[in-house]
Amino acid sequence: MPSVTMTVNGKQVSGDVEGRTLLSTFIRENLDLTGTHIGCDTSQCGACVVHVDGRSIKSCTLLAVQAEGADVVTIEGLADGEELHPMQEAFRDCHGLQCGFCTPGMVMSAVDLLNVNPDPSDHEIREWLEGNICRCTGYHNIVKAVKQAAQTMRGQAAAAE
């Protein structure tokens, strides 16, 4: 059985897996980090999005062995202790979720968007979130939340300079 070692939310973890074990399975079942959700088996819904080496990817479409040595961040790794990440805060403020199933993937995907584009337009946000399907909100408040988080984070970046 292959063994894998990677960094998840800043901590080094390892485990024995099968070649076929998906990263999402490893995260949920070996590490008990169940914030990463599984909403489909066709790589289309985005509920499973995590960051691997700083970029958002679908953890249901990556083998755990392919993440050997990688730096992985899941939804559990976003907050700073008790303090929510600005994206999480904005989803709460703007009512960017209802049932919450899509939310971890939405948030992780949106954080990656702001890494590549700190000031996206509504249209750019909607295009970026194409791979994240939400069956509840109708997306409007999600877009609002991402805009608010972008504004907060630009403010924080400016204050840090």
């Binding site: 070649g19 066709t42 790589s43 479409t61 990556l62 083998l63 791979g131």
Partner: protein
């Protein structure tokens, strides 16, 4: 998913050797097509050979009159590259969604030759060359049918070379659920020659619309598309769109592409 033996070679030569060692070994690049296929048990390889450890296969190289894109270059990297012709970067930036673009590769897309994929149309319209570990294949000889290519068993795509066009544009009418092309038309003018490739519509996969090409050669304008015929025979009809609707969309997408080139 059935289990398999996983290999991660660091050179093309080692990848070729690993492919030869298993009884039914398969390459994995970005995995965006292969892993869903394995999950559905539509394939059950004995061995998986991961190309992501082969550093030589990644990157865009500007070669003057053409660009060479390494097989393992992701769609996101192609979209963001200043060295890639704009029409090709834009195509890459509209494939699937952001997460698919962060993993999916040009080599995987061209190897797979999905009849609704975007890159095959760019290869045909830009008259690209598919470079493998053993030879160079002209795009015209490479795409041989739906999910079929000229690749031999165990052959690995290492790069794709695209001549730089004077003008080019890819117009995709997306399937709103899958984001693949319901119909995609790539129009390009390179060295004075016009080539038009159609994806998403053909029963045998991507093809060149030669009648539109000759009409555009004498008059490079959207009106010229109206005077050419698009044969409905050979077009695909399914739950998403009838063959007649695809025939209509080819004309519309071709006209929009030409208009955007002008």
């Amino acid at each position: 998913m059935h289990d398999f033996q996983y290999h991660k070679p660091s050179s093309v030569a080692d990848a070729v050797a690993a492919l030869g060692s298993g009884e039914d070994a398969t390459l994995v690049a970005g995995g965006m097509t292969l892993i869903p296929t394995l999950k559905q048990r539509l394939a059950a390889p004995s061995d998986l050979v991961d190309l992501s450890g082969v550093a030589d296969l990644v990157g865009v190289r500007d070669k003057g009159d053409h660009v060479e894109i390494g097989a393992m270059t992701t769609h996101a990297a192609v979209a963001a590259s200043p060295d890639v012709p704009g029409c090709l970067a834009e195509l890459a930036g509209n494939i699937g969604d952001a997460q698919v673009r962060n993993r999916g590769t040009i080599g995987g897309s061209v190897a797979n030759n999905d009849p609704t994929a975007c890159y095959p149309s760019a290869c045909l319209a830009l008259n690209a060359t598919i470079v493998t570990n053993s030879r160079e294949i002209a795009a015209d000889d490479y795409f041989t049918g739906m999910f079929e290519t000229a690749l031999e068993e165990g052959e690995i795509i290492t790069a794709i070379r695209f001549p730089k066009p004077e003008a080019g544009k890819y117009m995709k009418f997306e399937n709103p659920a899958s984001r693949y092309a319901l119909v995609g038309v790539f129009v390009a003018k390179t060295g004075g020659q016009v080539r038009v490739a159609v994806t998403g519509a053909g029963q045998d996969g991507v093809f060149r619309a030669t009648d539109i090409e000759s009409a555009l050669s004498s008059n490079f304008s959207p009106d010229a598309v109206d005077s050419s015929t698009i044969d409905v025979d050979g077009l695909n009809g399914d739950i998403h769109a009838s063959a007649e609707y695809r025939q209509h969309l080819i004309g519309v997408m071709a006209k929009r592409a030409v208009a955007a080139c002008a």
